[in-house]
């Protein structure tokens, strides 16, 4: 419990503190240290949960499913803060933003981390909603931080679309609460997930089905499922790069986490009805469409960050699809994919940030010869691209392999669609990546100070996960699989 308090209170306190610190350099370091502290707390929390089993107290619930996401969130938050410090100093030095905005940035960074952690750990669907909405609100100002017309437009779209989406999710939450009023012994606990989960068979199936639709559309908007994804590429491309890294690496995960938790409830409620896998089928449909459409979108990108945000949509689609299939294998694959995708994608966004600094633009056509200009950035981007495209020995291959295998077992014909999507996505990604990293160094392009340690750490972890999934992690994920799919793999 102490560990949880440390984990959660650090960003809360940090947000207030950073709102006051006006020294830009100090704020960067403070941000880094706070994130590190939070990481420490979450690791302690994870160790505790691993040794003592799920923790359900004071309105918080931590089990195998969310504890690894908590660690992942704090880890990516920490490494991104390492990257963010010199990066934002550079941005500040270029006079793109003022010191006041830097204060806003750092403070909101912590608020964002807080809302994510809250959304993951809280045992209350209402609280979950509040936290996810809070995450939107915290980041929306960061998206428009640069105040360019594009940034304002992106932020507006982000705000309005996610706002509408999240409102729909709230309606779904209300419906669940409504259903719970007639099913639970203590109706006032009608939003507590653990209680709902134990009584989910008695929830009214139709209400739950309607509720799930609202929740899926609502949280699905945040996951970036096609055709609700429109905000995502805009927000990712126009915001500061550290924000893109955490949005893609973390926020999408958290939204998907919410969908999966709610799917567990819906599946329980619909178990006896005539369409028990409705939730799964909807998710599969959304996932597949997102996956295929995003892979096609990759072909037409002109902005490097937009391109990788479509790649995020693609991968989120794959995960949604996998969770939709259900069953231990697909679920395990999806959980692993969540992990490796976050690590890889945030590493890529960090690299992309450096690349954009080197070229002075985010336009793909004008980023050239990165390997010659700054080998570490060029290779980082290339290897990140290889990893995200699903080549072994990186972990994404492992998770995609599992998902594919599960698909072949349950829906053999859909695996063809998946394979086509993977091929199209790969072509789309690499046709843009190639000219950026390779080739001669353009005139006047100079290296920038870049800290590639976070990238190395992330890609190293992904590589490790691809070669040998450590036993403790497998058990961890397996427990989560048991929770979600009903049976484990091991």
């Amino acid at each position: 419990m102490e560990a949880l308090i440390v984990t959660l209170s650090t960003p809360a306190v940090g947000a207030l503190l950073l709102a006051l610190v006006s020294n830009v350099t100090a704020a960067g370091w403070l941000n880094l240290m706070l994130s590190g502290l939070s990481l420490g707390g979450s690791v302690a929390l994870a160790l505790g949960v691993l040794s003592a089993g799920p923790l359900t107290r004071h309105g918080f619930h931590i089990d195998a499913f969310n504890v690894y996401l908590v660690v992942l969130t704090t880890l990516v938050g920490f490494t991104t803060s390492i990257f963010s410090r010199p990066y934002m100093l550079h941005v500040c030095a270029q006079r793109k933003i003022s010191q006041r905005h830097m204060r806003l940035y750092h403070s909101m960074y912590q608020v964002f981390m807080l809302t994510l952690l809250l959304a993951l750990t809280i045992d209350n669907l209402g609280g979950l909603w509040v936290a996810v909405e809070g995450a939107t609100l915290a980041t929306v100002l960061l998206v428009s931080l640069y105040r360019t017309p594009e940034a304002v437009e992106a932020a507006w779209k982000y705000f309005i679309l996610c706002g509408v989406g999240i409102a729909q999710a709230l309606f779904g939450t209300v419906l669940i609460y409504f259903a719970a009023q007639h099913a639970l012994p203590d109706p006032s606990q009608g939003l507590t997930w653990t209680v709902l989960h134990t009584h989910c068979e008695s929830l009214h199936p139709t209400v739950m089905a309607i509720a799930f639709v609202f929740l899926l559309v609502g949280y699905g908007t945040k996951v970036g499922l096609v055709p609700l994804h429109n905000w995502l590429p805009d927000a990712h491309s126009e915001g500061p790069t550290p924000m893109s890294a955490v949005l893609s690496g973390l926020l999408l995960n958290v939204a998907l986490y919410a969908v999966v938790r709610l799917k567990m409830l819906t599946d329980g409620a619909l178990a006896g009805s005539d369409d028990p896998h409705m939730a799964g089928h909807l998710m599969m449909g959304f996932g597949l469409v997102s996956f295929l459409v995003a892979s096609l979108f990759l072909h037409r990108q002109r902005d490097i960050k937009r391109m990788f945000s479509y790649s995020s949509i693609e991968h989120m689609g794959l995960m949604t699809f996998a969770f939709g299939i259900g069953g231990p294998l697909a679920t395990f694959g999806a959980l692993l994919h969540m992990l490796v995708h976050s690590l890889t994608k945030s590493a890529i966004f960090i690299t992309v940030g450096h690349a954009a600094h080197i070229a002075g633009t985010q336009t793909i056509d004008r980023i050239r010869g990165l390997i010659r200009t700054q080998p570490s950035v060029g290779w980082g981007l290339l290897i990140g691209g290889v990893a995200i495209a699903g080549f072994p020995p990186f972990g994404i291959f492992t998770s995609e392999f599992l998902v594919l295998v599960a698909t072949m077992q349950r829906w053999p014909w859909l695996s063809v669609a998946l394979l086509v999507g993977l091929g199209v996505a790969f072509a789309g990604l690499f046709r843009h990546l190639h000219p950026m990293v390779y080739g001669a160094k353009p005139e006047g392009q100079e290296p920038v100070p870049a800290n590639m340690i976070p990238v190395a750490v992330h890609l190293g972890l992904v590589l490790w996960l691809g070669i040998a999934s450590p036993a403790f992690l497998s058990h961890w994920l397996d427990q989560a699989t048991q929770l979600i799919a009903g049976s484990g793999l091991l």
Binding site: P392, F430, I467
Partner: protein, 664 residues
């Protein structure tokens, strides 16, 4: 015997370490290159020894690695087939190790550091070794893609060159798609077998239609890597642009790994083969062989030309495999074994002579900085050793006795000629047609290598840098010599090799090829002594004796140097020589239908220029439509992102309504 696994482990570790050491080349300088190549040498020797030990004893060894997923650990197994390919890798790698240090000297200065080249070379070799020893589909795929990705980086190595970038992209794309096909085919088998370990796949009771589906996917996947027409387009792009010792590894070994995968899949993992598969493989193989050699004839870039010849030879290998499948599918196991051995024999032969030729091309490139054969000429006098070894390679690849290429084609012909045992008249007539295609291919290959050797090494130099070419360093020559000697040995002592390979059919198909060597080491009698026999050592002896006799008898009389006569015209200058284009022109006209020919005369400022482009037809037929389709879809899909926030909200509303309608 117990040392085989540790030895293979040493091979893998040494190659991995070689890559690792190369990364420090910035600090260690030339030492890194030498160390890195020595470690590759260790890997080569270990692979050679381990592989031959397995082949000699016919044993099977397996081991489980503490890597991979907890319930899907990486399993290693070395059997005769793996052993054979270990030997293949080891043999070619030896040559590359000798050749490499001299060749990479040119990369010491300039942008392209040895770190990248050496690092990924090590990984590449590691990947290939791991594919050979993998014993479950997951590990196989990991190793397979490791091989693809690391070779992709090697193709992209000199990336200032747009051709390299394009080739690398195309290569990785096709490797990716191919890998996915392979994965899917394993998936089908695993669906019936209940798991991904090869043992489970072997025992899977696969429904015939699904087995065919899996087979087609495997053919696509492995065929894409092997370079079967029309999946070959990456090959002539990627192989030429890589550094030459890497081209040798890619063309000589990596394509063979694809053959390994295909053989492992069809002859080992699939329980019941169907003869109809064999027909498909035979057809694809025949077309690959013929089109490969025809495209090669039209090519003037030496390395591209060699790459197209890889397509041809892979086609010949697949003709053998197709014959094997037909015979096995119709219950003629012995003949199937002959065809399989023929295919595998050609596999190792091609590995040897194609690597040899690529190393030769690399030597020329190294000293002349030229890949266009139209600029070469007369190199034999400037680079006598390279020329000699290249000639050996040319003779071998043209399947002329007494070198190795002939033996495997001879075996393939022998298998094809046994077609009369088949019941179906259609099949019976198909086999001779395939044999005719093979014959046509062989004759065209002779034409092509006459062109290559004639234009490159004979005649007079056509450009300045070629005129100043010098023989390459000892190490580079030694690498070529090793392969040339192996080419000759495999050509002269086929019985030794067939005896060694006997363990493979014994393990895969439960019977050996003992009658092939029943009459002693001198005689190769694949079916029976009465049907066909070939005594390669005697042939070599006879050639030698005939030559010696002729030379002895004709010793008298001197030799006088003079100008060329050329029907009494003035002494010809280099520009008067027959060019490669001219040489290939009759064939271009005869087979014009198969090429995409763009020939025109352009008049510019009063000077008329004749322009000629001969391209592969498969681009226009197969690839451009796919590209257009994807682009078109992407354009349609992009309308989703119209930029209008109200439209986006409309999507949200619409989605909600549709979903509500669905669930209600």
């Amino acid at each position: 015997m117990s040392s085989v696994l540790p030895l293979s482990g040493i091979a893998v570790a040494a190659s991995l370490l070689s890559g690792g050491i190369a990364l420090f080349s910035a600090r260690l300088g030339r030492t890194a290159a030498v160390l890195s190549f020595s470690l590759l040498g260790v890997a080569a020797i270990a692979a050679l020894v381990a592989g031959s030990a397995v082949l000699v004893t016919g044993a099977t060894l397996s081991y489980e690695l503490p890597l991979g997923l907890p319930w899907l650990p990486w399993r290693v197994r070395i059997d005769a087939l793996s052993g054979f390919f270990l030997v293949l890798i080891g043999a070619v790698l030896m040559a590359v190790v000798a050749y490499g240090p001299g060749y990479v000297r040119q990369f010491e200065h300039g942008h392209n550091s040895f770190a990248v080249l050496g690092g990924f070379s090590g990984l590449f070799v590691t990947g290939m070794l791991l594919v050979i020893v993998a014993d479950d589909a997951f590990f196989f795929m990991v190793a397979w893609e490791l091989m693809s990705v690391s070779s992709y980086f090697l193709v992209a190595f000199q990336h200032e060159n747009p051709a390299n970038r394009r080739a690398a992209f195309l290569y990785l794309l096709m490797a990716h798609v191919g890998g996915l096909c392979i994965l899917l085919s394993y998936g089908i088998l695993a669906g019936f077998g209940g798991g991904f370990a090869f043992d489970l796949l072997r025992t899977a009771q696969v429904d015939a239609n699904w087995a065919t589906a899996a087979f087609v996917l495997a053919l696509l996947g492995f065929g894409m890597k092997a370079g079967l027409v029309p999946l070959h387009v990456w090959l002539p792009e990627a192989h030429p642009v890589a550094a030459s010792h890497i081209s040798a590894l890619m063309s000589g070994v990596m394509l063979k790994i694809a053959v390994y995968g295909f053989v492992r899949f069809t002859f080992d993992l699939v329980a019941e083969v169907q003869w109809s598969w064999g027909v498909a493989v035979l057809a694809v193989g025949s077309f690959s062989a013929l089109l490969g050699v025809l495209y090669a004839l039209m090519e003037h870039d030496l390395k591209r030309l060699l790459a197209y010849h890889s397509v041809e030879n892979i086609g010949i290998i697949f003709i053998g495999l197709g014959l094997a499948l037909i015979f096995l599918g119709t219950g003629h196991r012995l003949l199937g074994i002959i065809a399989l051995v023929a295919a595998l024999y050609h596999t190792i032969n091609h590995a040897l002579f194609k690597s040899l030729l690529f190393l030769g091309a690399g030597a020329i490139l190294h000293t002349c900085h030229e890949r266009d054969i139209q600029q070469m000429g007369g190199l034999l006098r400037r680079m006598p050793w390279t020329g000699l070894f290249f000639l050996v390679g040319c003779i071998s690849i043209s399947a002329l006795p007494p070198f190795n290429g002939f033996v495997s084609e001879w075996l393939t012909f022998q298998a094809a000629l046994q077609g009369f045992v088949l019941d179906s008249g259609v099949l019976r007539s198909l086999l001779p047609v395939a044999a005719a295609m093979l014959a046509l291919t062989g004759a065209l290959a002779v034409a092509c290598f006459v062109k290559v050797f004639g234009v490159v090494f004979l005649g007079q130099a056509r450009s300045r840098q070629v005129r100043h070419a010098r023989e390459v360093s000892f190490g580079m020559r030694a690498g070529q010599a090793w392969l040339a000697i192996l080419c000759l040995l495999l050509g002269v002592f086929p019985t030794v090799m067939v005896t060694l390979m006997d363990a493979i059919p014994r393990q895969l198909l439960g019977a050996g090829l003992s009658q092939a060597t029943a009459h002693g080491w001198l005689w190769l009698t694949p079916v029976s002594a009465a049907t066909a026999s070939y005594a390669a050592p005697l042939v070599l002896l006879a050639v030698a004796v005939a030559w010696w006799l002729a030379a002895m008898l004709l010793r008298r009389g001197g030799i006088r140097q003079c100008d060329p006569w050329d029907c009494g015209f003035s002494p010809p200058d280099p520009r008067m020589q027959y060019t490669a284009t001219a040489f290939a022109q009759p064939i271009r006209r005869v087979f014009g239908l198969l090429f995409h020919i763009d020939e025109r005369v352009e008049t510019e400022a009063g000077i008329a220029r004749h322009r000629l482009r001969v391209d592969d037809r498969s681009w226009g037929l197969f690839y451009e439509p796919i590209v257009r389709l994807v682009q078109g879809c992407a354009r349609q899909v992009a309308r989703l992102q119209s930029g209008n926030a109200r439209a986006y909200l409309g999507w949200s509303l619409g989605t909600l309504l549709v979903l509500l309608w669905i669930v209600s």
